[in-house]
C-alpha cells in the first residue's frame, strides 16, 4: 500500500461535510472513485492544505505530499510559454532529465510543441498537464475528474497514460462524478457517498440481480416503462429511452438528456426491454442499441459505447458483454 485514506472525515458545526473515507491504493493499481463534485472539492482542499488534516488520516509515501502528483481542474499553465518550454521548465524544476520526445509522443503533443499555451485547445492543455505525471518523480497520482470536457483523442491519451503510470509501479487514484468514467478508467471502482465507501462488484457478479429476482417474476407484461417525478408517474415508450443506469440501489432512465428515476430494477427492465433492442452492456447499464453510434475500443479490456443522443453520452461496455454484442450485431 502506497497511499491511503484512513477514516478521513470532516465535520463542521455538527454537520458532516465529508463522510468517512477509508481507501488504500497499492502500487500498480488504478482506483476510480465515483462521488459528488462537492466531496471531490473538499477532499482536494484537504490535500492542498495537508496541515489541516489530522495525523494518521492520510498515509503518504515517505517524501510526503511533495511526492504526490495531483491533477486538478483549476490547475493553470504559463500562457506565454510554449509546450516545449513548459516541459523544459518542469524537467528543471523537478531536477529530472526525462526525454521530452517520449512525453510528446505519449501525450500526443508533437503537433503543438512550438505553440504557446494560450493557443492550445482545452484538451491539449489537459494533455500537457497530464504530461507532468511523467516528469514529477512520484509514486502516487491523484486525478480530479480527468476526462471532463476532453475530446476523444485526449480520452485515449489519458487511458494509455494511466495504464503506463500503473505499469511502472504508480498508485493511481482518480475521482469523478460520473459512474461511466469511473468504470471506464479504473481497474477497481468505488462509490463514495454519505454512507461511506462501497466497492462496486466486478461485472458479472450480478448481486443486485439475484436480490431482485423474486420481484421480477411478479411483473405483468406491459409495453410502457414508468418513472416517477414528484407526484406524477410518467410512462415512456421503450424506444424513447437512450439508456438505463443503476446506481445507489435505484434505476434511472435517460430520455432526451433528462434523468428519471424508475421503480423497476435493471434486471426487470432488461427482461422487458430485450425485445425492443435493449442490451445489457454492463452490470449497471442497459442500452437502447438503436441509439448506439460507435463502439470505442480503448484497450484490449476497455470498451465504451458512444450514443447518438443530444448529449453524445458515452457508457461503459464490459469485456464479456463486448463479445456478446459482437455476436448480436454479427461483427
Amino acid at each position: 500500500m502506497v497511499f491511503s485514506f484512513n477514516q478521513l472525515s470532516q465535520i463542521e458545526q455538527n454537520t458532516i461535510i465529508l463522510p468517512e473515507l477509508s481507501l488504500s491504493v497499492a502500487k500498480g493499481e488504478i482506483i476510480a472513485v465515483q462521488t459528488e463534485s462537492e466531496y471531490i472539492q473538499r477532499l482536494l482542499d484537504l490535500l492542498n492544505h495537508p496541515h489541516t488534516v489530522k495525523k494518521g488520516m492520510i498515509t503518504l509515501p515517505e517524501a510526503g505530499f511533495q511526492a504526490v502528483y495531483m491533477f486538478q481542474q483549476v490547475d493553470g499553465l504559463y500562457k506565454r510559454l510554449t509546450v516545449r518550454q513548459i516541459l523544459n521548465f518542469w524537467n528543471r524544476l523537478y531536477q529530472q532529465e526525462v526525454d521530452i520526445e517520449v512525453i510528446l509522443n505519449l501525450c500526443e503533443l508533437q503537433l503543438c510543441v512550438s505553440k504557446k499555451v494560450k493557443q492550445l485547445t482545452i484538451s491539449e492543455r489537459r494533455r500537457l498537464l497530464f504530461s507532468l505525471a511523467l516528469i514529477q518523480p512520484t509514486e502516487v497520482y491523484i486525478f480530479e475528474d480527468p476526462s471532463h470536457n476532453l475530446d476523444l483523442q485526449s480520452k485515449h491519451v489519458l487511458h494509455n497514460l494511466l495504464i503506463h503510470l500503473a505499469g511502472r509501479g504508480g498508485a493511481v487514484l482518480l475521482f469523478t462524478p460520473t459512474l461511466e468514467e469511473a468504470i471506464r478508467l479504473g481497474d477497481i471502482v468505488y462509490r463514495y457517498s454519505e454512507r461511506g465507501t462501497q466497492r462496486m462488484e466486478a461485472d458479472g457478479e450480478d448481486t443486485e440481480a439475484d436480490q431482485e429476482e423474486e420481484e421480477t417474476s411478479a411483473q405483468v407484461p406491459f409495453e410502457k416503462i414508468s418513472a416517477k417525478v414528484e407526484d406524477k408517474i410518467i410512462l415512456f415508450h421503450p424506444l424513447e429511452i437512450d439508456y438505463i443506469e443503476a446506481r445507489d440501489g435505484q434505476t434511472f432512465l435517460f430520455v432526451n438528456n433528462e434523468e428519471f428515476a424508475s421503480s423497476n430494477t435493471i434486471k426487470t427492465l432488461e427482461e422487458r426491454l430485450q425485445a425492443f433492442g435493449f442490451f445489457r452492456c454492463h452490470r449497471s447499464y442497459l442500452v437502447n442499441l438503436q441509439r448506439v453510434r460507435e463502439i470505442i475500443i480503448w484497450s484490449k479490456n476497455s470498451y465504451s459505447l458512444s450514443l447518438d443522443n443530444v448529449s453524445k453520452s458515452t457508457i461503459p461496455l464490459s469485456k464479456g458483454n463486448y463479445s456478446k454484442l459482437k455476436e448480436l450485431i454479427q461483427l
Binding site: 492542498n48 505530499f65 511533495q66 504526490v68 495531483m70 486538478q72 483549476v74 490547475d75 493553470g76 499553465l77 504559463y78 500562457k79 506565454r80 510559454l81 518550454q85 523544459n88 521548465f89 528543471r92 524544476l93 523537478y94 531536477q95 504557446k116 507532468l132 514529477q136
Partner: protein, 228 residues
C-alpha cells in the same frame, strides 16, 4: 531550494517576459520618456524625475504584474508542490525586476551625468528606492487579483511620487522642508549635490532608513500571511 530550481524559475520567468506585452510596453515607454524629456528645448529636467519614471513604469509595474500573474494563472500551487517556498517565488521575480531596473538606470545615469563617479553615485542614490519599490510592489501584486488591479492600485502611489517630485522641482531646498520625510526628496537633492561635486552620503541616510523599515514591515506581514 536547490540551485537547479532557482535556474528553473528564472528560465520560466525569462521565457514569459519575452512575450509579456504589458511589461515590454511599460519598459519601452519608460525608455522613450527618459530619452525624449531632456530634449525639450529650454527645459532642465532633473535626473531624479527621470529615475521616477523608471521606478514607476519598470520596477513597480513589472514586479507587481509578475507576482499577480503567478496567482492569476493559478500556477503557484504547482510550485508549492515542487517544494518551492512562496519566498523563493517572490525572490526569483525580484531578481529579474532588479536586473531590468538596474540596466535601464545605468543607461540613464551614464547618459545624463558628466563623469563616471557622478553616474555611479546617482545609481547608488537610487538603489534604496529601487529596493523599497520592489517590496511595495510585491505586496501590491500579492494583494491584487489581476494585472488590472495592480495598475489601478499602483497609480495613486505613482501620482504621489510625481507630486512630491513636482513640488521639489518648483521650489528651493529652503522651502517645503517637511518634504524631507520622503525618500525621493533625498534622492533629488543627493543628485544635485553630486552634480555640484559635494558630499551626497548624508542624503542616503533617510532612504536607507525607509528601506530598512519597509523590509521589516514586509517580513512581518509576509510571515503573518503564510502562518495564518
Amino acid at each position: 531550494m536547490q540551485r537547479q530550481q532557482w535556474k528553473a524559475l528564472l528560465y520560466k520567468d525569462l521565457c514569459d517576459l519575452r512575450w509579456n506585452g504589458q511589461i515590454l510596453f511599460n519598459t519601452l515607454i519608460a525608455f522613450v520618456f527618459i530619452m525624449i524629456f531632456p530634449m525639450i528645448p529650454g527645459q532642465q529636467v532633473p535626473l531624479s524625475f527621470l529615475i521616477a519614471f523608471v521606478l514607476a513604469l519598470v520596477t513597480t509595474l513589472m514586479q507587481g504584474n509578475m507576482v499577480v500573474e503567478e496567482y492569476e494563472q493559478k500556477t503557484k500551487q504547482r510550485l508549492f508542490q515542487a517544494n518551492i517556498s512562496p519566498w523563493g517565488i517572490i525572490l526569483s521575480k525580484m531578481m529579474l525586476t532588479f536586473m531590468a531596473t538596474s540596466i535601464i538606470l545605468l543607461i540613464l545615469v551614464f547618459t545624463y551625468t558628466r563623469s563616471f563617479l557622478e553616474g555611479i553615485g546617482s545609481f547608488l542614490m537610487a538603489l534604496p528606492l529601487v529596493i523599497i519599490l520592489l517590496f511595495m510592489s510585491t505586496v501590491l501584486g500579492m494583494k491584487s487579483k489581476n494585472t488590472i488591479e495592480v495598475s489601478l492600485y499602483g497609480v495613486p502611489f505613482m501620482l504621489l511620487y510625481f507630486f512630491i517630485e513636482g513640488l521639489m522641482m518648483n521650489s528651493d531646498q529652503s522651502e517645503l522642508k517637511w518634504l524631507a520625510i520622503f525618500p525621493n526628496y533625498h534622492l533629488h537633492y543627493g543628485i544635485v549635490h553630486l552634480h555640484l561635486q559635494q558630499s551626497f552620503m548624508p542624503y542616503l541616510i533617510v532612504p536607507l532608513l525607509w528601506m530598512a523599515v519597509i523590509i521589516l514591515l514586509f517580513a512581518i506581514w509576509f510571515r503573518k500571511r503564510h502562518h495564518s
